[in-house]
Symmetry: C2
């Protein structure tokens, strides 16, 4: 089927570009001896995860336990889950997963670590736990090398756990300092930090500038979006992911309405102006979204679309957009080659 | 199962409150002789649509053709689709639907109307078409009563179509003026405007103040959210919909991280400050969302949660949040009574 026959809104991936994006980052990280552990939150599609592993990734990263289970069911056998997992039900699921694949997780508190240890003992397994470090993002993570070293020692001391290293996000100079200081604090006890996991698509081509890094996690690099473009890490020509929409109304000379609103493009702004970039009308601005309507200001465009015309949108943020679709359409030379269900969609628990 | 046993994040609906919300709006609209045509975009769950119809709704409103098909499959047999439907594939699906249920749609252009007429003729059916009027929202809709009357006359003139009336959103005094002027323009031709469909949850208790209105469409009224609370149309005690999340990290004295981010709470702000209201910590502010992390500032709270504690969030906007979950959990007296798949989720085409 030709791309023009797809009903809109459709989320399409250019397979040539997707493959090139996978290959490019893998080659760069290989060159610098950094393990590649792509984050599947962006696509949530086992087939794409398998492409990433086939290209040389050491394993994958998932953000939720449910995602990890879906990926494991599809044959992905080395998964990093950088999240504090807690609560009896989730801990039981986590240990069931640990028994069938290579699994590692993070923790940033004694509470999480003790829960993991008890559950691992009950399940008679050993889980690799990295300490999450907040090196500036202000999200999860211990606040100091002192805290990091104390948690590392706790992981070493408790049964059912092995100390897996340190994790932070995104890569930064502060991360390097944080890691070095933590290593220094652990050295007297003979505790080695073998794995330092960082990440981020905007920073991906600078991964080699962080000497402590042993592993890089990137998600958006396979697709690209307006945010990634702005960061300079990818070019418009690299962008593999777009939304095809139809102009369903032209109420005024300047205004056009697309059949793609916030339930298609998400409401993520990420500091950008407007809700997406329209390839065919670069001067157009998507000025507002209702749930199923995208409002476009075409006033700066020399030519303007007719009702029924289709446009191609590079969204602000590819991850939530992918997550709003049931299926992603893979195209090559404008022909549909594959349709992937977004298997990990809504696996929030 | 007790609500405390649900894995988080979970989207829960208090069934007593849901039923009360359905009953309250129905009674009000019945009292004023206005047809109730609830918008299922909020819940996308056939069972809730059936509750709304059982309570007295004249039919339902869907925003996408795919949603309407799912609702029709579930037995909902009177559906309003206030959208410009175009393109051969969608027009064929629309006419297939028109042949099995009571269906009406909107149009705001000659292009849409001619497409509907041709498709209806080919399918040997008749479709009811309302003219969408922009009475101030600045989205779809004709801009003047003159245009509205011209499209109404075109609908009357073309085969396969019947003129269904006028539609606008949200209810406003401007809408009343627009409708009256359009009626005046149609009177000489003997064209009656039998149905005037307006809507909106924030304005719902003022529907009777719009003399032209014959039908009201509301979506959020069944659930309620922070936006609806701010509008004054519902109280906190009316809010039937919430997200249960767990505090998975407490990196600093003031900061807490929830296992609910933008893929759970959506990024919709709707002019509100922060990303949700935490019932147990009214002074807390959800200051930022990553995809799977919600960052909370507890600095204004006298007591603060421990890691592992669960909290209840009233989201900014219930519709996109509902759309991010695979399942909605119906509870009564804190016990799970039903689990509904969000059947219409992702039915974007």
């Amino acid at each position: 089927m030709h791309i023009d026959m797809l009903e809109t809104p459709a989320a399409v991936v250019d397979l040539d570009k997707l493959e090139a994006n996978i290959k490019r980052l893998q080659a760069y990280l290989d060159e610098h001896g950094i393990a590649n552990r792509p984050h599947i939150k962006t696509h949530k599609i086992p087939a794409i995860a398998q492409m990433q592993v086939a290209a040389g990734a050491a394993g994958i990263t998932c953000q939720k336990l449910g995602e990890a289970e879906i990926m494991a069911d599809a044959g992905l056998d080395d998964i990093f889950l950088p999240y504090n997992i807690m609560g009896q039900s989730k801990l039981e699921r986590l240990m069931a997963l640990a028994k069938r694949i290579q699994l590692s997780v993070t923790a940033d508190s004694e509470y999480t670590i003790r829960g993991l240890s008890e559950a691992a003992q009950q399940a008679d397994t050993t889980l690799s736990v990295l300490v999450e470090c907040d090196s500036g993002l202000g999200r999860c993570g211990v606040q100091s090398p002192q805290e990091a070293s104390e948690l590392a020692k706790l992981i070493v001391a408790l049964p059912g756990l092995s100390f897996g290293g340190l994790m932070s996000y995104p890569n930064s100079d502060e991360m390097d300092v944080f890691v070095r200081e933590t290593k220094n604090l652990l050295e007297p006890d003979g505790i080695q930090v073998e794995r330092v996991s960082g990440g981020g698509t905007p920073q991906m081509w600078h991964a080699h500038e962080h000497p402590e890094l042993t592993e890089h996690r990137a998600g958006m690099y396979i697709y690209g979006d307006r945010y990634t473009l702005k960061s300079g890490a990818m070019t418009l020509d690299d962008c593999a992911f777009s939304v095809i929409a139809t102009v369903v109304s032209r109420p005024t000379e300047d205004r056009g309405i697309l059949d793609a609103g916030s339930k298609t493009l998400s409401s993520d702004l990420l500091g950008l102006d407007g809700h997406g970039y329209i390839l065919e009308y670069p001067e157009a601005r998507i000025v507002g979204l209702s749930e199923e309507h995208g409002k476009v200001d075409f006033s700066e465009c020399a030519s303007r679309p007719a009702i029924g015309e289709r446009v191609t949108i590079i969204p602000n943020h590819c991850c939530p957009v992918n997550n709003l679709f049931n299926e992603i359409v893979g195209i090559r030379n404008d022909e549909v080659e594959v349709v992937w269900p977004v298997a990990g969609r809504g696996a929030l628990q």
